[in-house]
Structure formats: structure tokens, C-alpha cells
Amino acid sequence: MIITEKKDYKKILSSLKGHDNIYVIGCGRCATSCSTGGEEQVAEIIKKLKADGKKIIGSCVIEAPCDERLVAKFSRAEKAKIAKADALLVLGCGAGVQTVSDVIRLPTYPALESIFLGKTKTLGRFYELCVMCGDCALEETGGICPVARCSKHLLNGPCGGSHKGKCEVDQNLDCAWYLIFERLKELKQFDRVKKYQKPKDYSKVIRPRKVELR
């Protein structure tokens, strides 16, 4: 899931300067799960914006604002209201904001910060697990990614700052390599840590990436 956080409200308000008629869009998937862009958060920000003198033309939680088809459908259904708006505020990740902006062609502003791709442990507790490098080596590391979970993305073992399972960058962070060593022992695959790992192939992350199957 794409993990998002609420953007500083003052920054949102500042970005909306000069726009009085706002349409607010939420996200029914990741941002709803993160409690950053669901029905509740859309209602909450509308209340704040109204208090700050903004006119809210309408609002909608699109099932997936990152799906162009769903945004186009929404755009047709809400055409009359959108025509009256002079800006859109999207409570979704960067992909959602951009997809909406591409389809509707109005000034479109982000209400969230897109943080990472990760897991939900419990409600409100999210952890980064994948950097989408396009060169997955989880089979070598017991299913724990050192690229995403080691601050220095080290592929051949921990740095000298790893101590008692913690990371030198932040004592509250687990050392990814400690986790990998422990997991591989548990899986009886410990020999895998002894293997030299080649540098990563960064040609797989030439941006923007795309998948075009058809």
C-alpha cells in the first residue's frame, strides 16, 4: 500500500491562495486505509477550508484517483459542479493528484504527502518495505529487503554502526542486516549471507518507468 501523511494545513491553504471555489477529492483505497484521504478526512478538511473562507463546490471520494478510467467517469458525472470550481484539492498520493490533474485540467493541489510503499501493522502503524527497484533480490535475503530497510541500502552485510540489532542512524530502527541474519538462520538458509552480492542494476530505474502490456 502507498502510505500517505496529511500535508501541513498551512501549506495547503497557502497553495490555494487566489482560489475561492474548491472541489475536494478523496481516495477510496490507500488513503482511506491510511485514514488520510477517506470520507472522514474529506469532511474534516472541508470544515477547515470553509472556516478559512473557501467555498466548497463539491466533494467526492473516488475509488482510486490513480485510475484514469475512474477519474474520467467521475469527471463526466460531476461535470456541472467541476465547471464552477477553480481548483481541485486531492487527498491522495502523488499518483492520484497527477492522474486527476491530467484528466480534469484544472489547478490541482495535493493535500497529502506520499511517504512510502509499505505494510500496515495495525491501524495507524505503517512500515516501509519496498523501494520498487525493479531488481528484486528478496530470495537472497530471507524476504527482508536491505535496499528499503537499510538506511545505506547495503547489499553485502551491515555497516560498522550496526550494534545489538539496532541501526546507527536511529537507535529506534532495527538494523535490516540483523533481521536478515536472524531470518536466514530461522529458515536454515544462513549460507546465503556469505555470498558476494553484485552492485544493483540502476538501469532498471530509469524514470519515468512504464509497463505497456498492450
Binding site: K152, P158, G161, Q197
Partner: protein, 285 residues
């Protein structure tokens, strides 16, 4: 004698690090360099250590070389990608630099430059391998170089990191990749270091013990907070009670080195540029 020859021929090799200035004023640091002349087998030029801005380690090594010292170029993986590393290595070799210490590099989190983008394109094991490949005339892309360098390459290890098994596996990878010497993290724990050396006794590589002479009680406190550095209480008390803590630090450093005779192939002084203490410590070992 070159550092490579010292590693080969001397029973006790001495290196010391010097940090280049933050700025272009070299006067103070070059006076310090003069103190090291004739006393050490190699001088490490640190590479933006703790992610604090300093003059380029390549440029500083070239200046040390001009002064007749034997420079050891520290190269971290934080500040350059593999292309820039190779370019700097070729340039360094052209300037007469023959030794490289490959390190991961501190994360810039606590630095004033904390907003920079850390690179970490390759890791320290891969860097050692890349340098050895360059020595064999092959670049990172597998292409032939027009003239191969011949660097003596080293790595680092933290003997105090737990579990030590993790460090051992990485150390072995560094040796397999071609590391010819190891400069250790600063060490105050004699028994801990002996245990580490017992575990590494089959590794055919020179171990230079990292020594940071303590100068004050405040410094002792800072050292205690370095992950994987065990500073025994006894030593903290000695520094706290000493009428001259700098002198006590010199005494402690000499004691550590003397206690570890037979376990080390030399020492590496990391004095935060207080190199004046080095001759005094060496006189006691």
C-alpha cells in the same frame, strides 16, 4: 618506504588520520602533517567524515604527497556514484596516491548537511572489488582501462559490534574482494579485541588497531555513545579523576597498544587532528 612495503616488511605499522580543512586554509593542518613526517607509515586523509564538509580527500592526499608523506585516500560510498569514484581514483593515482581505504560512510542524519541526497550506489565490499578490478585494468562496466593503477586497498571493521558474527562475514567478504589491510574502529576493550582477534586469526590480513586518545571527560561521554564502541567504566573514571586528562589519555592509549601486542600488526591513530599526542604514545610502546 611506501605504505605497501611497510605492510609487507614491518612488524608494527603505524598510520594516522588527518582531516582536511573546512575551507582552503591549509596552514594549521600542514603543521600537523609535519609532526607526522618520519613517524608514521601512512597518513589517512578523511573523506567528509561524519558527513561534515571538508576539502576533497583526493586533493588533500596530493598535498600530503608533495610534502613527502605517504597518503592513504579514504573513499566513502556516501558521496559519489561508481562513475565518480572511478574518475577520482584514476585522478588520485595520476597524482601519486597509491593507497585507498574503502569505507561505507556515515549517514548524514546528524550533519549540518543533513538535507543532501546520500548516494550509496555501491557498498564497501563492492568498492574494494571495483578497485581491485581497476588494478587489473578493468573498469566497473567491464571495459579495459588505458593504463591500470596499482592501489593497495584496505577496509575497516568494528570489532566491538554485536553480534560480531555479522561483522566477521562482511570482513571475510572484504578480504575475498581483495582488501590487504584493515584499520579497525576505535577500541578500548582489550579483552573484547582479543576475542575478536581469536575469531579472525585465520584471516591473512594486517590488522591496524584503531586508537583515539581520550582528552576529556566530555569526550569520554561522546565515545560511549558510538554504537559498538565499548569504553570500560574504569577508563572513564581514570579520565574523570585525572589532573591532566590529555596525559591520562596518552597513558591509556599506550597501555591498550602494549596489552594487545601479538594481536595486532600495528596501530591507526584517529586523533581528531590532535596528532601532537602520537609521538608521546609511540615513545611508550
Amino acid at each position: 618506504m611506501t605504505f605497501k612495503e611497510a605492510l609487507k616488511n614491518k612488524d608494527f605499522v603505524v598510520t594516522a588520520e588527518l582531516s582536511p580543512p573546512k575551507g582552503v586554509d591549509l596552514e594549521t593542518v600542514l603543521k600537523k602533517a609535519d609532526l607526522l613526517a618520519g613517524r608514521v607509515d601512512g597518513v589517512n586523509a578523511t573523506d567528509n567524515q561524519v558527513a561534515v564538509l571538508h576539502m576533497s580527500s583526493v586533493a588533500f592526499c596530493a598535498i600530503l604527497k608533495q610534502k613527502g608523506l605517504e597518503p592513504i585516500l579514504q573513499m566513502n560510498c556516501r558521496d559519489r556514484n561508481a562513475l565518480a569514484m572511478q574518475a577520482d581514483l584514476l585522478g588520485a593515482y595520476a597524482l601519486g596516491i597509491r593507497n585507498v581505504l574503502a569505507i561505507t560512510g556515515d549517514y548524514p542524519k546528524k550533519s549540518l548537511h543533513h538535507v543532501i541526497k546520500p548516494v550509496f550506489d555501491i557498498d564497501s565490499v563492492q568498492l574494494i572489488k571495483m578497485i581491485k578490478d581497476m588494478n587489473n585494468g578493468i573498469d566497473f562496466a567491464g571495459e579495459k582501462l588505458a593504463g591500470a593503477p596499482s592501489f593497495t586497498v584496505g577496509g575497516v571493521v568494528n570489532p566491538g559490534s554485536e553480534p560480531i558474527e555479522q561483522q566477521m562475514i562482511k570482513l571475510k567478504k572484504k578480504i575475498d574482494a581483495g582488501a590487504e589491510f584493515i584499520q579497525t574502529q576505535i577500541t578500548y576493550d582489550i579483552d573484547g579485541f582479543k576475542k575478536f582477534r581469536d575469531l579472525t586469526k585465520d584471516m591473512k590480513i594486517k590488522f591496524l588497531l584503531g586508537i583515539l586518545p581520550i582528552r576529556s571527560a566530555k569526550m569520554a561521554e561522546t565515545i560511549q555513545n558510538i554504537p559498538g564502541v565499548h569504553l570500560p567504566k574504569k577508563l572513564i573514571e581514570r579520565i574523570a579523576k585525572a589532573s591532566d586528562p590529555v596525559k591520562e589519555g596518552i597513558e591509556i592509549s599506550a597501555e591498550i597498544i602494549n596489552s594487545l601486542k601479538g594481536y595486532i600488526d600495528g596501530v591507526h591513530f584517529m586523533t581528531l587532528n590532535n596528532v601532537e599526542v602520537i609521538p608521546e604514545i609511540l615513545a611508550k610502546v
